[in-house]
């Protein structure tokens, strides 16, 4: 199933949601995973969460209670997308290394 590249934000959100988390948890996990390089801004994250829910890649977990933080988790479909992206990224890295590190021997 050919998918377009995920944005960095989408990729990290899906990755963070391998374990159920709320919005703030996703931000913190993304910063931890990327060693502080990727910071998800609030509006960007909110928009991405809604879009991902609409696509069925993630879903809100548990019953929604007033005043409770919404918790999200990855769906099966989301997991599939994440693995697909991982394959694509590996290909990018392998090709980059092959070309730049000169081990692309043709003969």
């Amino acid at each position: 199933m050919p998918e377009n590249a995920l944005t960095e934000a989408t990729y990290y959100i899906l990755l963070a949601l391998v374990q159920p988390r709320h919005g703030y948890g996703i931000m913190q996990e993304t910063e931890r995973l990327s060693k502080g390089r990727v910071h998800l801004a609030a509006g960007t994250l909110y928009g991405a969460l809604n879009a991902l829910c609409a696509r069925g890649w993630i879903m809100p977990q548990g019953s929604e209670q007033e005043g409770r933080r919404k918790i999200y988790c990855l769906s099966d479909k989301g997991e599939e997308v994440l693995y697909g992206e991982l394959r694509r990224l590996k290909e990018l890295v392998e090709n980059g290394e092959a070309v730049l590190e000169g081990n692309n021997d043709h003969e």
Partner: protein, 168 residues
């Protein structure tokens, strides 16, 4: 006793980044925004640099405001379509948009609002002119200004789109 001070300032819609910059300069100087009104900004005393202030155009969406509160932000208030938030700097960097796409989406929201208000003013202006109602030109001037603003916002959108060809 909480010391407050009020400033009156006018910002054009396309200068919302300058408005935000000014609000953060105030916070840096120990005055953090505590309420907003039409051209009116009320500040309260804070430690210099204690808060980051952000603003954004937002159509009715209480879910979003709750989301910001969930991540430790405070909702200061709303002036027309603009909402104002602040968050303690000790909680980390407080940004609303961290990629080009969401910046573009925000600018497109602004552009849509300007477009419809502009069209509204244009139609009212034309209607009033035809009916020889005095001061109809005010609506026409407003329409021109709004269309100019729309152009400025579209300029920003174009800049981001050309940036997006290379980055995200």
């Amino acid at each position: 006793m909480n010391e407050t001070r009020t400033e009156y300032r006018w910002f054009f819609v396309w200068d919302f980044e300058k408005e935000e910059e000014w609000l953060n300069e105030m916070a840096e100087a120990g005055w953090v925004l505590s309420s907003v009104g039409f051209c009116r900004y009320t500040f309260e005393r804070c430690e210099p640099g204690e808060y980051t202030v952000r603003l954004q155009m937002l159509n009715r969406d209480n879910d979003y405001i709750r989301f910001i509160e969930d991540i430790g932000g405070e909702y200061i208030g709303r002036m027309a379509q603009w909402v104002y938030f602040r968050r303690r700097t000790e909680l980390g960097a407080f940004e609303l948009f961290s990629d080009i796409d969401s910046r573009i989406t925000h600018l497109e929201t602004i552009a849509r609002v300007l477009f419809w208000i502009g069209i509204g003013n244009l139609l009212i202006g034309i209607g009033n002119s035809l009916n020889r109602i005095p001061f109809a030109f005010i609506n026409l001037i407003a329409a021109c200004l709004l269309m100019y603003g729309l152009g400025r916002i579209h300029g920003k959108i174009d800049d981001l789109k050309s940036e997006r060809r290379l980055h995200e």
